[in-house]
Symmetry: C2
Subunit: 524 residues, 2 copies
């Protein structure tokens, strides 16, 4: 309780900042404060801040979305729907079920799962009751779900938004609110079979989305740990050195080495030994070679990882995906919870330079393109579920997360460069009229079409011009117009116009629905 009292004493000094006589009180009394009392004081302070009117003391209402977030407009949503359909089809093809979890979790559920990244978690305001945080990924909620429901076997996907108070780089598809598409396999199985399926899934999705060439890097936390051990990194520094190695995809070796030596306190010799290993890339051959490596083979952990790596590659050969997968000792991944195989997919394609250059402070005329970086990542986390189980019962898990935002950014660019117009509605027919006073008739026909399952629109005007109605079709890509007039009503027909060809034919009211169905099934 001493620290609590001290914090409170400091706090009172803080509150009285600017006074000549600080109001310091004995430690004993402060420690008597209850959580409820603190709640009350916090509420008062924040109310005070609200009265001050935000961070700068001045109040100007700004019409914007929160920092690092964006709206999706209908065109972006159409692209998003297409991408999701591809991904969900793949997950379903592999026999996955789906679940959903709340957007916020008890704060404690997330505590101690993300290593150095925990500072990026969004907390909810303490408004009384439980302390809550927005989910940081879908993996920890999944593990919590398994433990809570005592599930030991499941293959599930989960597509939802996650939240990170990161520095957004929105032009490269990095947001504070972003989608993750996760596929995970939980259960005690024979080694590397589910792991290989995860990589197969990444391969299928990235191929189907047609984003150009890609590579999937694979490594194993046990190989990394074994490597650190034989190079002479002290046990307690494994995780932090792992985080440093993880920067190799963005920074050159010299910077990484510098951090190891000057910030993390490794000797230059140890760093150089790590440097030798992390420059290695290959396939099954590299795993075999390293199993013979006089130094690395002294680590039991590394050997277990290398043997599994060989096994993994043998399954990947059966799945015919080895052309894009490489064993890369520099792959580390930042999160704490991985225990075995880890992987990450990168696109070889680069974003169009003009789009991103100015946002990145590049010199105008600088021709260097910016890599979109990782678009999928994951690995094995056999200990995470056990952290939630009251008895520590483990459920081995392996999974992959598709980083969909960067893919959206690329698809949007592609759509903009292409001549094809993205339709944002699926309307098949507009019910129109050339003459006045036919609103009731238009509404009646539209209602008939809706009831028959035809996607139909009608303009919300009593007497719209025919031209206005045809323009609406052109703009939103509606292929057909059903035109009503006095004569058509008398004859019991509708004039059916094809927007593209401007052809018109009379169709009897009884046959209209059938004719529309026939025509729309022929459309692309």
């Amino acid at each position: 309780m001493a620290t609590v009292g001290l914090a409170c004493a400091r706090l009172c000094v803080g509150l009285l900042r600017g006074h000549t006589a600080p109001c310091l009180r004995p430690v004993r009394a402060f420690s008597a404060m209850t959580a409820a009392q603190i709640d009350e004081e916090v509420a008062k302070l924040l109310q005070l801040k609200a009265q001050l009117g935000g961070d700068d003391g001045k109040h100007v209402f700004v019409l914007k979305t929160a920092k690092g977030t964006r709206d999706y407009n209908p065109k972006q949503m159409a692209i998003r729907e297409k991408v999701f359909n591809t991904i969900i089809s793949c997950f379903k093809r592999h026999g996955a079920e789906t679940i959903d979890t709340p957007v916020f979790e008890l704060k404690e559920t997330l505590t101690g799962k993300y290593g150095e990244d925990s500072k990026l978690i969004y907390d909810l305001k303490d408004q009384g009751g439980e302390l809550l945080s927005l989910r940081y990924d879908l993996t920890v909620p999944f593990a919590r779900y398994l433990a809570m429901n005592k599930i030991t076997n499941i293959k599930r996907y989960h597509i939802a938004k996650v939240y990170r108070r990161d520095n957004p780089a929105m032009t490269r598809g990095r947001y504070r609110e972003f989608y993750q598409c996760d596929f995970d396999i939980a259960g005690q199985y024979d080694p590397m079979i589910p792991d290989a399926e995860c990589l197969k899934i990444v391969y299928e999705i990235l191929s189907e989305l047609d984003l150009g060439d890609f590579r999937i890097k694979v490594n194993d936390r046990r190989i990394l740990d074994g490597m650190f051990a034989v190079c002479g990194v002290p046990d307690e520094k494994f995780r932090t050195i792992c985080s440093t190695v993880d920067k190799l995809d963005k920074a050159p070796w010299e910077d990484v080495k510098n951090e190891m030596v000057n910030e993390k306190g490794l000797s230059e010799e140890v760093a150089d030994q790590i440097g030798e290993y992390v420059s290695m890339q290959g396939g099954m051959d590299l795993a075999e070679r390293l199993l013979q490596d006089p130094k690395l083979s002294q680590s039991k952990q590394a050997c277990a990882g290398l043997a599994d790596m060989k096994q993994l590659f043998s399954y990947l050969q059966l799945f015919q995906v080895t052309d894009k997968v490489m064993f890369d000792l520099s792959l580390a991944r930042g999160l704490d919870y991985y225990t075995g195989v880890i992987y990450e997919a990168v696109l070889c394609q680069t974003l169009q330079a003009p789009v991103v250059a100015e946002q990145n402070g590049a010199v105008p005329g600088d021709e260097a393109n910016v890599s979109v970086g990782s678009v999928a990542g994951g690995g094995r986390y056999d200990g995470l579920v056990g952290m939630f189980d009251p008895k520590g019962k483990k459920v081995p898990c392996v999974g992959v997360s598709i980083g969909i935002e960067r893919i959206f950014s690329l698809m949007e660019q592609k759509a903009e460069l292409s001549a094809e117009k993205v339709r944002t509605t699926e309307t098949q027919v507009l019910v129109a009229s050339a003459q006045k006073n036919l609103l009731e008739e238009r509404l009646k026909l539209t209602s008939e079409l809706w009831n028959a399952g035809i996607k139909a629109e009608v303009l919300y005007k009593k007497n719209p011009k025919l031209l206005t109605q045809l323009q609406h079709c052109e703009e939103s890509g509606i292929p057909l117009v059903a035109i009503l007039g006095e004569q058509e009503l008398k004859d019991g027909v509708v004039k059916l116009r094809t927007v593209a060809s401007r052809e018109e034919v009379d169709v009897s009211r009884e046959q209209l629905v059938e004719e529309l169905k026939r025509r729309t099934s022929e459309l692309p």
Copy 2:
């Protein structure tokens, strides 16, 4: 600034609660605190609370979701997907586009939009930077989106979760995190045409979901305001009396009257006059009668509302939905932003008593069923977008929100009562073997099927028993098994087994994909 200083002085007293000599300081000095200083003090206080270990001073980690929230398991997700598909199909049939907005907004965006319900908004913790809140509905973010992007015409749907710190009644489908399915039409159009389409949509969705009989109540804010005016309610009490009238769907008139008289300060005569009006229900005839009402017809507002109500009913007749729609003067709806027509749909069906009774504190044996209440609601809000536009430019809007959680609850009950098993995967075929050492062959075949677009699974065991494999099919409803054995491999065939009939036929490897496609297209 005086209030700020006072709040701060009170606060210091609060912090020192329990001391004999309260540390009161002059007001002037406290008012010098900046927002940044407050941030710091708040952080310290909350850290202190964290050290205290939650609200009770003891720390026990509880494995649960946050209060008022729930996970969706695969079976619930299968039901949810079905319901969403019905709703989205309807929205698309009516030519709607879709958008998405972030889960949190600037706090200010939500301020002053929800009347008495504003206290239910979840705020994010002030971690530096902008003050944020979780969205309370999808309507205010939609209005913000329109104003921000200067959009004056759109028909859009938005399906997403919203957040309310309400008292959850989860058995009745009331959660703190819940889905809304919104359809809105923005734009300056001829009166009541988009409004009628919204009601048609509610009618279509509730009919297609097959939830039993339902009613859609309709009223108009202008009629309510006119009624309050002619009954003698002072102008400044319109909104608060409106909130009281809104309780009529849950409470008897006597309680509502009591609140009007004893809490809101109306005279008994005024309350009784209101009571007479709010007991009225009907259709177009009631609108016509009230237009002749000597008292109500004195209000211009009421007359405008009644004329529009007549027009609305004439369109609803064309849409053939008047059998379920009724003009009901007791319908008020709580939200501040409505300006014209309002509506709400209720199911006539009630929830199974045993499921909910004990949660509601009902006496065991109490036969009374609990109504699921409102499952859709909405109305016209012509002023909301203008609240966000820097020049106050208005965009008239009308929309409807489907309260999907209650519908989920009903569908889940229905599924449980029905004998039919809900499938949670779409797997068409399991690749199996009866003999040992065929893992590689199973993986190879499975991969071939995936590549051909067949939904296939394989057990992640080196040598699973055939029985285990067949059991997996029974449990998860997989209709077909492709069985590999030494003989089949030699003959270049696969034994294709129908799980339901136990029939087996040999199919050549070359024809397998085609045969699987043929068979799965025949399945229900």
